[in-house]
């Protein structure tokens, strides 16, 4: 663990990403304290530029506080990103583990199914799903999970397939261990690093997807979200650029931070891939 942290710290970007992420998490927790009112509430004159009339980041076309909207939207973004990724991981790891361990026909069937979901355009599918099942936080989470699990399945399957034929797994087989024990104690722990790296990137992608859905008007109508704010500021961008620009910066920072942390995790968990030098040639 100490070794992991030492390697993670060597990547400056990852440390910055982690700091940004901590700040964003803090904002989500403190939003009700910093802005103890509903982000939908009209707080003053519409179209106020940033810094004027008590609006830190300006006001929107209905006099709502942009800063309050961003702070309250943080929670929605992180929630959607986290829950949908967890759901996608559950589907992806299960299918990938079964495919990779069972191999043969089962593997073929699962992989055809996965390829199918990977081929159909994911964002369009998410739009169709949310539209038909009416927009709500749960339909959004489900839609994002449905379009994001295929890469997990592919990665987990590839890991399982390669680990399965590794000699230490065969040794466990010869020792007479049960299949479940082999999967849980021999294979899964060794397949974990790519899954961890992938999941940090998946949270980032999920946040981008959620914002795009909200931008198109497919967000949960009861929850303030960054994408929705950009969408509502779109038509008045000539008049009030801040309505669109600041929520966009929030998305950008969150997604960037998650990507940076993902790279840091990758460096820390796969040290050999991170720097391919230093080894003595034979």
């Amino acid at each position: 663990m100490a070794e992991f942290w030492r390697r993670f710290r060597r990547n400056l970007g990852a440390v910055i990403g982690l700091a940004i992420l901590a700040l964003i998490g803090l904002t989500a927790i403190l939003a009700p304290v910093l802005f103890p009112f509903s982000p939908w509430e009209m707080r003053g004159i519409p179209f106020m530029p940033p810094g004027e009339a008590g609006f830190l980041l300006g006001s929107d076309s209905l006099g709502r506080d942009v800063a309050a909207g961003i702070a309250h939207g943080t929670y929605v973004s992180l929630l959607v990103g986290g829950v949908s990724t967890a759901a996608a991981l559950a589907i992806g790891i299960t299918l990938g583990a079964v495919a990779g361990y069972a191999a043969g026909r089962v593997d073929d069937a699962i992989m055809r199914f996965t390829e199918f979901f990977q081929t159909i355009p994911s964002f369009v599918l998410a739009v169709v799903l949310v539209a038909i099942f009416t927009p709500s936080i749960s339909s959004i989470v489900i839609a994002i999970a449905i379009v994001s699990w295929p890469p997990v399945t592919r990665v987990v399957r590839a890991e399982f397939l390669s680990l399965r034929s590794r000699e230490f797994v065969q040794a466990a087989e010869v020792l007479g261990r049960s299949r479940i024990a082999i999967i849980l104690t021999e294979i899964l722990p060794n397949a974990l690093s790519p899954i961890i790296v992938l999941s940090s990137l998946m949270v980032a992608t999920a946040i981008l997807l959620e914002s795009a859905l909200s931008f198109l008007g497919l967000g949960d109508p009861n929850l303030m979200s960054w994408g929705f704010m950009i969408g509502s500021g779109r038509s008045v961008i000539r008049l009030a650029w801040w309505m669109s620009v600041f929520p966009g910066i929030a998305i950008f920072l969150t997604v960037l931070a998650l990507n940076l942390v993902g790279e840091g995790l990758n460096d820390a968990l796969n040290p050999r891939l991170a720097r391919r030098r230093g080894a003595l040639p034979a």
């Binding site: 065969q170 087989e173 010869v174 060794n190 003595l280 040639p281 034979a282």
Partner: protein, 534 residues
């Protein structure tokens, strides 16, 4: 004056490493028309020396001292463009891994022709490439011109590499373990080819190897390297038969000496294989049928209590598959595998479990055979715990086993990456022995190890086998090792056991043509390492 002279060459390693220099104060001289073998174990710096001559030392490893004088000029002071012109024209190089050494997207013809093109030779390139392919004795050169590397076998690719290296008639050929990745019969063909071409063209060859058999086969002179330094050099006959430096002596002592031993008197029958078959199917789909590979064809043998049977063959001969059939890591398609009369092949996973503790296996790759995320203690205790031994008792057994395989008890709480290859192989052995098996399968247990470590592990294996009265099935591609370890030997070729007999008989009067071919291909077979000093 020698053709190539390395004088006091020192190359630094990045700071903080195990040692300060990759090679230190290395001096070697190569004369025209001679083969100089540089021999050493992994990490000895022999490959680095070769790379330095070619000017291909990886970035970040600075040359801190010395000269490399080739035909009167110091290569280290040459401008990069002049050095590039020398490579391929005056200095040719062949590498270890033929499977990855050719560009997969270019035809063989294009790749050889490139040597001419980049050196400004435009006359009759096609004809010259064809002649080169003939020179290295590749079949059907015109067809080969348009073939992509993936169609060629390892030996054929290595011939292409040699053709490229010799295209412009260089005066020095550097061969970096050129036969290590090849099967023994192919290795012999390539060694003879290099020898032949070198004599025809008077090329000086700097030949890097770890194998004293190869040295005995091909070398005019030998230099022995250890930890970055040349510890001994001299004429091949002198170094091989009267080594002076203790390290050279140790290395030569460690060479498996191939003296067949008397067969053990057989006890009761432990294992009987009859008509075991296994075929692998690959690919296939709607529009094409998959390919099938017959890995094992009607294999039969019996194993008596206390004896060691060697399964010998080249890669792809099916020896590992057959061994894996016995422990059901591979499900055979047919036949019987009778262990004390019970056909293991018919047992369910559950019914097989009691037999698991009686048959164990030691694997080839010490780096892949231990779970990197588990402690050594847990790895060794895994078997007993799985079979219902209480944990404290199992851990006591682990300590006992660590002593048996000559490892420190402190190993229990450490992870595999903290151990060397030889130590890991002992841990793998301890894991297999933890269940007190009767039958031990050893699948190439020493082929991934350096020769000195190899000797230690073989000695340990032999000692334990006697002490515990183990019956052993020993898989190896190395005939010298087989001769040292096995009572009887089964020779496999393309899935079939072509010859089975006592070790002395198989080596002394082989009956099958393939066995004779294999024996003939043992590098340096005429050389008998000198008797041990002790």
């Amino acid at each position: 004056m020698s053709l190539l002279a390395i004088e006091g060459l020192t190359i630094a390693l990045p700071p903080g490493g195990e040692r300060a220099h990759a090679i230190e104060d290395v001096s070697l001289a190569l004369d025209p028309g001679e083969i100089l073998c540089v021999v050493g174990e992994s990490g000895s710096g022999k490959s680095m020396t070769a790379s330095a001559v070619m000017g291909l030392v990886p970035e970040g490893l600075p040359v801190v001292a010395g000269r490399i004088v080739f035909e009167g000029t110091d290569l280290l002071r040459l401008p990069p463009e002049d050095m590039r012109e020398l490579r391929g024209r005056r200095l040719g190089m062949v590498f270890q891994e033929p499977m990855t050494a050719l560009n997969p997207l270019m035809t063989v013809g294009e790749q050889i022709a490139e040597v001419f093109r980049v050196h400004g030779e435009t006359g009759d390139v096609r004809g010259r490439v064809l002649r080169l392919l003939e020179d290295v004795r590749l079949p059907d050169p015109p067809a080969l011109l348009g073939a992509y590397p993936f169609r060629l076998s390892g030996g054929q690719r290595q011939r292409v590499m040699i053709a490229m290296a010799l295209a412009l008639g260089p005066s020095v050929l550097i061969a970096d373990e050129p036969t290590t990745a090849l099967d023994v019969t192919t290795q012999m063909q390539i060694l003879r080819l290099i020898r032949q071409l070198q004599q025809d063209k008077g090329t000086g060859v700097l030949f890097i190897t770890h194998d004293f058999g190869v040295v005995a086969e091909i070398a005019d002179r030998v230099a022995v390297m250890q930890r970055g330094r040349v510890v001994e050099q001299g004429p091949a006959g002198r170094v091989l038969n009267a080594p002076e430096h203790p390290y050279t002596r140790a290395l030569i002592d460690a060479v498996p000496h191939g003296r067949a031993r008397a067969a053990a008197t057989g006890g009761g029958e432990v294992l009987r294989l009859q008509a075991v078959r296994k075929t692998f199917r690959r690919g296939g789909g709607l529009f094409r049928r998959g390919t099938t590979v017959v890995a094992v064809k009607d294999a039969e043998f019996t194993l008596a209590k206390g004896e060691t049977l060697g399964l010998v063959g080249e890669s792809g001969s099916g020896k590992s598959t057959l061994a894996r059939c016995v422990v059901r890591l591979v499900e055979p398609d047919g036949g019987t595998i009778a262990f004390h009369g019970t056909d293991l092949r018919r047992l369910s996973r559950g019914a097989m479990k009691p037999y698991r503790r009686r048959i164990q296996i030691v694997f080839q790759d010490p780096y892949a055979s231990l779970n990197p995320r588990r402690k050594i203690g847990d790895i060794i205790a895994e078997g007993p715990v799985t079979h219902g031994v209480p944990r404290p008792e199992a851990m006591a057994r682990v300590r006992e086993l660590l002593r048996l395989v000559q490892l420190d008890e402190g190993a229990i709480d450490r992870y595999p990456h903290e151990f060397s290859g030889g130590q890991r192989q002992r841990i793998g052995l301890a894991r297999a022995l933890a269940l007190d098996p009767e039958l031990l399968i050893a699948d190439e247990p020493v082929s991934a190890l350096d020769v000195s470590v190899q000797a230690q592990v073989l000695a340990l294996l032999d000692d334990i086998r006697h002490r515990l009265g183990l019956t052993m099935l020993f898989i190896t591609h190395d005939l010298r090792v087989a001769a040292q370890v096995c009572d009887r030997i089964a020779v496999m070729q393309r899935g079939e056991i072509v010859e089975l007999g006592d070790t002395a008989q198989v080596f002394g009067s082989p009956r099958h043509a393939y066995t004779r071919e294999l024996l003939d291909a043992i590098p340096g077979k005429h050389w008998m390492p000198p008797a041990r000093a002790a």
